[in-house]
Amino acid sequence: MSDTTHEFHPHIVPIPVYLAIFVALLVGTGVTIAIAYVDLGPMNTLVAMLIAFFKASLVVLYFMHVKYSSKLVQLAAATGFLWLGIMLFFTLSDVWTRDWQPVPGFAPQFVDEPLGHGPAAAGGHGEATDGHGEAPTAGGEHQ
């Protein structure tokens, strides 16, 4: 401490910036809720995730100081999300481009009902609805 040349001077973010981010995060939450009640079809989830991603970016850049951090820390933080992207992209690109084998007890709805669509045709839905769905029928049905 006696040696002033060795003191370091971190970038000190002014309080109004923190307040602005704080308000933006609250507004973003409000918008997320409001938009959930508007029917955008399959876009609902996409919009919600885009807003969430925007909010997360604000937190990372300002609250977590990544905007003012060294290149090394910025690279480390970005890399984490790169790995996440690899995990999500390659797993989902596989899952979404192949047929699935139905799972006994879970099967009926899966086959007929892709994401975001209403109750699909199939009368088969009701068969396993005894509340516990142990449903030996469902197991047999698909083998």
Partner: protein, 229 residues
Amino acid sequence: MSTDHAATADHHNSLVAHQFDDAEQQKEASALGMWAFLITEVLFFGGLILAYTIFRNAYGLAWTAGSHELNVALGGANTAVLIFSSFTMAMAVHFAQLGQRNKIVLFLILTLIFGSVFLGVKVVEYSEKIEHHLVPGPNFQYHGEFADEVNPRNVELYFFMYFAMTGVHAVHMIVGAILLVVWLIPMARKGRYTSEYYAPIENFGLYWHFVDIVWIFLYPLLYLIGRHN
């Protein structure tokens, strides 16, 4: 080690461990280490979100049905509470940078209070789910508005993911609250943190903000599916 006076001075400075050249390098190293940990956390929660996405893709209506059993208002209020706590945490780091002890303590306590409110609301939500037999297991029952169209086993799977994701998130909150109570707040009161040395507060802040980010994603993913129906 030879004859550098500045280096010698730092060796006598207990705030800088002797493997570091100076306080700045030490701070950089601790931030980098914290980010390495947070990356593992990103991938940990990322794995849960991946499982969620695959199941939701397969059992979409069950996900809508399960989501409609959640309380949008309580979840939304909790999102706001967590954003408040992130803001107070950012302020604690800010005043640590300025070395203002009393304000560090004040904002750490506020962070703890908001975190506790979040967990309290979570307790209310979980107990509602228990009362309504929505906990996966032998007592699971689904009699909601989609009961005629959906296989309850699939709704049970939704609630499995709900409890796994929010439960692990709540564990992170509890760990954070414990660290505040037993470590950061007492040390801050003792005046341990100054404008030269506040890495524990900064790194705890990174952790706390990360947990906030997780909830920013969990809230729309779990509470807000198909609300326009």
